[in-house]
C-alpha cells in the first residue's frame, strides 16, 4: 500500500469533486472516506486507474451523504444535472486547492491544518500528532476552517505569497509522530512547483532542500543543537544540496528576485563551503542587503549583523547590530556571540544567560546556557575551566 501515492492523488480527486458541484466540506469528507476504503481494498485488489477509482468511490460517498441529507431534494436536482462519473482527466488542477487552503480569511494555524488535510491527504489523527494536540481539537480546527472557506468561490485566483507562507510554516514546524512535516512540506512544495511557474515557488523549494540537507548534522543523538560552524559537513546530504542549488540557479536566472530566493542563496553559500572558515561571508552580506531591501524585516537585519561580524569583524557586526530592535528574541544571543569574538567574555557570558532566559526552544535554551557556562568556566580561571568549545 503506497501511502505517498494516495496522498499525491488526494488534491486532484478533491478538486474534481468540487468541480462537479460538491461543496468543499462535503467533498473533503467524501475523499477521506474514499482514502480509508482504498487502504482497505487496494492491497488485495489494486485498481488499474487509482485516481479514477478514488474519484468514483468519493463521488458515490458524496452522493450517499447528500441523499441522506435533509435538503435531499434540492441537492439531487443539482446532482442530476452533473455529468456521470467517468475516467479522471489527467490535468493538474491542484493549484486552486492550494489557494483555497491558504485563503487569507483563515488564521495561519487553520490554513496549515487544512492544507495538510486537503492537499496533503493526511488524516486528522496524523496532523494532531504532528502538532501535539488532541485529535478532537484538531478535528474542530479543521471543520472550522472548512466552514470559513465554504463560501469562497473556487475559481478565484489566489495569492501565491500566502500559499508559500503556509508551506514554510509547515516546514518550520519540524516533525514528531509518524508524519515528518519537513518532508511533507517539501513534497507539497514540489507538487506546487510542478503546477505553477513562479520563481518564488522555486526559491522556497530550494530553501527547504538546502536546509533539509543539513538536518542530520544539526543535532546530536541526544537532541542538543550543533551550531552551523561546528557541524560535521560529511553528514550533509550532497544530493539534496545539488538539487537545491540547481533549482535556485534556474529561479535566479529569471531575474525576478524574491525573499525566498535570496534566503536560499544564503543557504547555498553555507552549503557550498567545504569548511566553515571558507564561507563566502562577503557575498553573504550582499544577499542580506538584498533581503533587507525586499522585506525590511528586523529579523533579517539581525541576521545581517551576524554576517557582517563574520565578513568584517566583530566590531563591524556590533555596529550593524546597533540599528536593530533589541527586543527581538535572538538579539541577546547575537550580541553575546559578537562580544565574545571581540574578547569581552564577561559581557558575553551575561548576555548568553539573558539569551537563554528568553529562548522559547528547549534545545536552544540548553545550548545558550552551555555557552554561558563555558565562558564562566574560562573567567573563573584554568583550574575550573571547561574545555573551550571548538
Amino acid at each position: 500500500m503506497d501511502e505517498l501515492l494516495l496522498r499525491g492523488l488526494t488534491p486532484s480527486v478533491l478538486t474534481i469533486l468540487v468541480r462537479r458541484g460538491a461543496d468543499f466540506a462535503a467533498a473533503e469528507d467524501a475523499v477521506q472516506d474514499a482514502l480509508v476504503e482504498a487502504v482497505r481494498v487496494w492491497p488485495d485488489d489494486p485498481p488499474r486507474d487509482p485516481k479514477g477509482w478514488l474519484v468514483t468511490v468519493a463521488w458515490r460517498r458524496f452522493l450517499d451523504a447528500t441523499r441522506a441529507d435533509a435538503a435531499r431534494r434540492r441537492r439531487e436536482e443539482v446532482v442530476d444535472g452533473e455529468p456521470e462519473p467517468g475516467p479522471a482527466a489527467a490535468v493538474d488542477d491542484t493549484l486552486q486547492l492550494y489557494f483555497l487552503c491558504a485563503h487569507p480569511s483563515l488564521t495561519p494555524s487553520s490554513a496549515v491544518a487544512l492544507t495538510l488535510r486537503a492537499v496533503g491527504g493526511l488524516t486528522t489523527r496524523q496532523i494532531a500528532q504532528a502538532y501535539l494536540v488532541p485529535e478532537t481539537t484538531m478535528a474542530q480546527r479543521i471543520s472550522r476552517a472548512k466552514r470559513t472557506v465554504s463560501t469562497v468561490r473556487f475559481d478565484q485566483p489566489g495569492d501565491v505569497a500566502t500559499v508559500l507562507r503556509v508551506l514554510y510554516l509547515v516546514f518550520n514546524e519540524g516533525y514528531s509522530g509518524d508524519v515528518d512535516l519537513v518532508v511533507e512540506a517539501i513534497r507539497l512544495t514540489r507538487q506546487l512547483a510542478a503546477s505553477i511557474d513562479h520563481p518564488e515557488v522555486a526559491g522556497l523549494l530550494a530553501l527547504m532542500l538546502l536546509h533539509h540537507a543539513r538536518r542530520a548534522a544539526r543535532t546530536t543523538p541526544d537532541g542538543s543543537l550543533v551550531p552551523l560552524a561546528e557541524q560535521d559537513r560529511g553528514l550533509w546530504d550532497t544530493r539534496l544540496i545539488a538539487e537545491g542549488v540547481a533549482v535556485l540557479q534556474a529561479a535566479l536566472a529569471r531575474d525576478r528576485l524574491g525573499e525566498f530566493q535570496a534566503q536560499a542563496a544564503i543557504a547555498a553559500l553555507h552549503a557550498d563551503a567545504p569548511r566553515a572558515e571558507e564561507t563566502d561571508w562577503v557575498q553573504g552580506v550582499e544577499w542580506y542587503d538584498e533581503l533587507v531591501g525586499l522585506t525590511d524585516s528586523p529579523v533579517v537585519r539581525l541576521n545581517r549583523a551576524v554576517a557582517v561580524g563574520e565578513a568584517d569583524g566583530p566590531r563591524a557586526g556590533l555596529a550593524a547590530l546597533a540599528g536593530v530592535d533589541d527586543a527581538l528574541p535572538r538579539y541577546a544571543a547575537v550580541e553575546a556571540h559578537l562580544r565574545e569574538r571581540d574578547g569581552d567574555l564577561a559581557a558575553a557570558a551575561r548576555l548568553y544567560v539573558e539569551a537563554a532566559r528568553k529562548a522559547v526552544d528547549l534545545a536552544e535554551h540548553a545550548h545558550l546556557t552551555k555557552q554561558a557556562a563555558r565562558l564562566n568556566g574560562l573567567l573563573r580561571g584554568p583550574r575550573n575551566a571547561a574545555e573551550p568549545s571548538p
Binding site: R357, H365, K370, A373, G377, A386
Partner: protein, 135 residues
C-alpha cells in the same frame, strides 16, 4: 493507579542543597543533567508511569478582567515571592509512596560537580471524578 503532578519551580521553593546557578556549571555538567532528566522520563515511559512532561519558559504575566477590552497585565501581584513554575511532569502510579519515591529520584538529578541538586519538587495528586455510582 493515581495521577500526580511533579512541579519544578524556578523560585519560591526552599534553596536546593547543591544550589549553584546552571550557567556556573560546566557544559558537561549541563549535558549530564539533561541526560538524567531524559533518561528518567524514558524509564517511566517503559514502566507505563509517564503521562506528560513539559518545560515552561520563565516569562509569565498576571492578567485580570478589568472591564471591556482592557484586561490589565502585570508582572505579578506577589513581587517579593514570585514563584514561577519551571516545568511539570505528570505520572500515573500505583501509590503515593511510589510518587514520593519518583519525585525524590528526580530531585537527585546531577548538578554542579556532578552531585545531586537536592532541589525541592512539589508533588500534588490530581482530583479525579469517581466512576463508581453509589445510590
Amino acid at each position: 493507579m493515581a495521577k500526580y503532578l511533579l512541579l519544578k519551580h524556578y523560585r519560591g521553593a526552599p534553596a536546593a542543597v547543591n544550589d549553584v546557578p546552571m550557567d556556573q556549571w560546566t557544559p558537561e555538567e549541563i549535558t549530564a543533567h539533561v541526560q538524567y532528566m531524559n533518561d528518567f522520563a524514558r524509564r517511566l515511559e517503559e514502566t507505563g508511569e509517564f503521562v506528560d512532561g513539559q518545560a515552561l519558559a520563565p516569562q509569565g504575566t498576571f492578567v485580570r478582567y478589568d472591564g471591556e477590552g482592557r484586561p490589565p497585565v502585570t508582572d505579578g501581584p506577589f513581587a517579593e515571592t514570585k514563584d514561577l513554575i519551571a516545568g511539570w511532569m505528570v505520572i500515573d502510579v500505583d501509590s503515593y509512596e511510589r510518587a514520593v519515591e519518583l519525585a525524590g529520584e528526580l530531585s537527585a538529578a546531577p548538578g554542579a560537580g556532578g552531585r545531586p541538586i537536592h532541589e525541592w519538587l512539589e508533588l500534588r495528586p490530581f482530583l479525579t471524578s469517581s466512576h463508581t455510582i453509589a445510590d
